[in-house]
């Protein structure tokens, strides 16, 4: 348990992830779902960034030609976060445009109403 408090940054990252997950599950508005997904993404970035951090070391940019690995933090998670950010931006853009299309068709962003409208349309076809 004390290890949980010592790893507080990872714990906060995963709590953020869970908050985003719950937003995704319990909100009916499409835009809120989208925000929940972005919160989930932020949790993942924070988790990755905190995995690479080591106390007392500096960012992995070579200073004065010092190449000893004991001076710099782990550069691999930093390069992995980049992929995550790019994918999240793309997914957000595509989801936004899909929501716009849905709004134009059904004049609402509430998923339940959209389902109801789609179902009644199917029944009446």
């Amino acid at each position: 348990m004390e290890n949980l408090f010592r790893n507080y940054e990872e714990a906060v990252a995963l709590i953020l992830f869970s908050i985003g997950f719950m937003t995704l599950l319990f909100h009916k508005n499409l835009l809120r779902k989208l925000i929940g997904m972005n919160i989930m993404d932020s949790g993942v970035y924070l988790f990755l960034a905190s995995m690479g951090y080591i106390y007392g070391r500096r960012a992995p940019i070579v200073e004065n030609g010092d190449l000893s690995a004991e001076r710099y933090i782990n550069p691999v998670p930093a390069s992995l976060v980049l992929t995550g950010i790019v994918v999240s931006v793309s997914v957000t853009a595509v989801m936004l445009s899909l929501s716009i299309r849905l709004y134009e068709r059904y004049h609402t962003l509430d998923l339940d109403v959209i389902y109801a409208a789609a179902r009644s349309r199917r029944e009446h076809r």
Partner: protein, 293 residues
């Protein structure tokens, strides 16, 4: 035997190319009769209440289980910020030999544009695909279905905004160019620099309104710049991969680490990626915010 006959034989039924295309249904939910609405609402309410309760209980259980599993995992992980055993040989290799092999002072930049260059190319293509999807989804498809304009408060005539933008935008653009060009020497790189430049373009567009923002980046310019940048990335990286894998001499040297013209292709590739990112972000803003390029 004509192409049409061949196709028909292949598919097993006759194709009529000249048949008129059925008109697209442009019915919206608002056009449905109120009766239909009430009917579907009633179905939703009758089945929905019980289902909704079950859904909520299951959702809470699911979230609690997920959260406790994740937190248990964190409790079992190595301590935060202490020298970790998962800092393995790959990391040591990157730090101690990265500058020598790639010529980049910024080790992360060296990783993403030399060791993992293929991955970065994939990321650029993900962005490109996303903006293509946005274009395909939001483009007004024909004269008959001009999207209804959503009324939003036009802030573009605000003199305070314009003054501020006139002062701020050049600085932001300069900063973006700096981050792009010094990506191999200092924090930054193609994606972050491109995002800054894209933000500056969005600032101009929001301060100066429709007529100016349509002229900053027309669709033609967007296509040309994106395609050229991605092709340059492909060709340049193919060359270095080919020479590197076959032990051939490459004309692109690493130079002296720390100089602006060093680190082989990293700086041009950063600029190419930055172009793609800036165009993509501005294109997404235009398409999502104003529904036209």
């Amino acid at each position: 035997m004509s192409i049409r006959d061949k196709l028909s034989a292949l598919l097993g039924f006759d194709i009529d190319f000249d048949a008129p295309v059925p008109p697209r249904k442009t019915e919206t939910a608002a056009e449905q009769t109120p009766d239909e609405w009430r009917f579907s609402r009633r179905i939703m309410r009758a089945g929905g209440r019980r289902l909704g309760a079950i859904y909520k209980i299951l959702g809470v259980i699911c979230s609690v289980v997920l959260m406790s599993t994740l937190l248990l995992t964190v409790a079992g992980m190595p301590r935060y910020g202490v020298d970790q055993e998962y800092m393995d040989t790959v990391t040591y290799e990157y730090i101690s030999h990265g500058m020598e092999y790639t010529g980049a002072v910024n080790i992360v930049s060296g990783i993403i544009l030399e060791y993992r260059a293929f991955d970065t190319l994939g990321e650029s293509f993900v962005l490109f695909c996303a903006v293509s999807c946005v274009l395909a989804l939001l483009r007004a498809d024909g004269a008959d279905s001009e999207p209804e304009r959503v009324e939003y408060r036009d802030i573009s005539c605000d003199p305070i905004l314009r003054r501020t933008m006139r002062a701020v935008v050049p600085i932001v653009l300069l900063y973006g160019a700096y981050v792009l060009l010094f990506g191999h020497l200092s924090p930054g790189g193609g994606f972050s620099g491109g995002a800054v430049i894209g933000a500056a373009l969005i600032m101009i567009a929001s301060a100066y309104g429709e007529d100016v923002s349509g002229r900053i980046l027309t669709e033609r310019v967007f296509k040309t710049v994106t395609t050229c940048a991605l092709s340059f990335y492909c060709l340049g990286k193919s060359y270095t991969f080919y020479t590197g894998a076959n032990g051939l001499h490459s004309v692109i040297g690493n130079g002296t680490p720390g100089n602006i013209l060093s680190a082989g292709l990293i700086m041009p590739l950063n600029v190419a990626v930055g172009m793609v990112v800036a165009c993509t972000i501005y294109g997404m803003y235009r398409m999502i915010g104003q529904r036209r390029f």
